[in-house]
Amino acid sequence: MSVSKDYILEDLIRNSEDLLKGLEQIDEENGFLPEPVEKEIKKDIQAEEINSIDINSNLKSDGYTELSISQDEMTATGDFFPPSEGEGFAGFEEGKPIELEAVELIIRTKGIVTGILWDSISEAIFKCNTERVPVNDVIIARGKQPKNEIPAHLEIEKNLLEDPGKADTERLRIDYREMSPFVLVKKGDVLARVVPRVPGTLGETVTGKSVPFKTEKIKIVKPGKNVILDNGYARASCNGRFIVTEEGFFVSEVLEIQGDVDYHTGNIDFPGDVIIYGMVKDGFKVKSGGSVYCQRTLDASEVICRGDLIVNHGIIGKKKGVVKVNGKIDAKFIENCYVEAGGSINVSTSILNSIIHSLGEITMGEKGIIVGGKLFAQNGVKAAQIGTRVGPKTEIHCGIDFSIQQKLEWIRDKNIELAVKLQQMDAKIKAAATEELKVKLGTVRDKLMKGIHKLNLASASLVNYLDKDEDAKVVVHRSAYPGVYIEICHISYILAREMHACSFKLDKTIGRVVVESIKG
């Protein structure tokens, strides 16, 4: 037997359940009613009361208005009640509609003088009178808000506050070594602009009272070191790193890196001095317009600086490292690295298998050794030991300006290339079938010859600047080993036997390198 669904019953159950909702929270002993129930009760009572008024109201009433002013007196609100029909003195009558004049009177009585919204009032009256509905909460007057005073202040340029390490998402490949978290500025760059003071204006309440303005609280950023104020702009007075702190902003001529130069910092390119409290990791570059101080090691990296380079530990080139310094270099050791220094180089323990160029002197520590590689030191070399009994060969070149030497070598290579081409051209000219071809090739040959001549002239001129220090010496405090090659101002000397405590110098009278004992 099929049982049909009893919708009425289901409805009843649902309604009952709705009614019972929340009742389980009632504390019947203490009479405590939960908040939703309390609210429900209030709502029900209000509705009941209102209904009772409506039911009992059979008298006619005129339309009327009630106005109220907010506590801060910045707004006045109106409630508009419509007229109603009902029993009057002359029987069943129509109540009078609200009149604008009546409302105006109330407004005056309330002392409302400022910001009266006559349009809103008229609209409310019209709606109330025609539609016979109460119109509540109509803002009929609005006071004038005061405008805060903004003191003069500096506003930092937006681009300087952006994350400089933000990746360029349009680039498919990002070399994170090229990304730096440092904001670098140049001398004269605008760092901030002066925003002039904006004076405050008084406000007014709807009752006509003045409302004082406030001074806006702005985070004042003060210009600090290396910042100059110039015609409404704060500019960098030097190249450096732009730094913003709680107190203000400034330009630091020194870049301090608390850890290593690695993927966290990216390559460094700083116009001033750079202090690295860690190491420079393999593959990273440091370029400085000043000096570089590295507390740990330079590890197969590229360091270029205009000032000095001080490496607390050493330089581990791994045959990839390049160091070019305009000033002097101080390091504990140098291994498998290419180094150029405009000044002297001081290494306390060892120089191993490296190509070192110095326009000053290379000085090793008390027990410092030089093994393998080539050293070019304009003003000489001092070491405890040069070469080893069985190790790689060591070359020491002194007295010459390596930068001139490099130029001369480039000219030489270019010259040889041209000379080879000239030889080939001569062969072609000889075999040329026609006079016309001969002439054509002859023109090229002339050009090659002119090129060679030009380079030769440059060589002849540069050679005058090559020899810089004929008094440059190679001083060995302990031992120099066979196979070590020493050249002072182009004059060669090859060690055939182990030598101790000696110096090698150029004897200009005989044009040879001579050895002197430095014992005692």
Partner: protein, 115 residues
């Protein structure tokens, strides 16, 4: 005109040196055969003689020794890729003043001829 002799078994080096140093205003003779070059160096007077170190039949040290034995005042320079080559030491002991890096160092040669 100053005279320059180059003895190197690589003809390309000899030819190139001739081109460059002739342009610099020197008279240049070149030999690829070390024996013939040595004979020429003894036969004629040169302001500077360049001798390659590693050559077949007669190495540069031997050639330099031969020349300096016959003409102790001759200015002989050795051309080598490796200054630490033991033969270089032998040549130096024979009286060679200095070594030139291969293929040759124009600046050094100019410097020596100037002196």
């Amino acid at each position: 005109m100053k005279k320059l002799l180059i003895i190197d078994d690589e003809s390309m080096i000899v030819d190139v040196a001739k081109v460059i140093f002739k342009d610099l205003g020197y008279q240049v003779d070149g030999y690829t055969d070390p024996v013939a070059g040595e004979k020429q160096a003894i036969k004629e007077d040169y302001d500077l003689i360049l001798v390659d170190l590693r050559m077949p039949v007669r190495n540069g040290a031997q050639v330099a020794e031969g020349i300096l034995k016959a003409k102790p005042d001759a200015q002989v320079l050795i051309i080598t890729a490796y200054p630490t080559d033991p033969l270089a030491k032998q040549a130096m002991d024979a009286g060679v003043k200095t070594l030139l890096k291969k293929p040759f160092e124009i600046a050094k040669i100019i410097d020596f001829l100037k002196d």
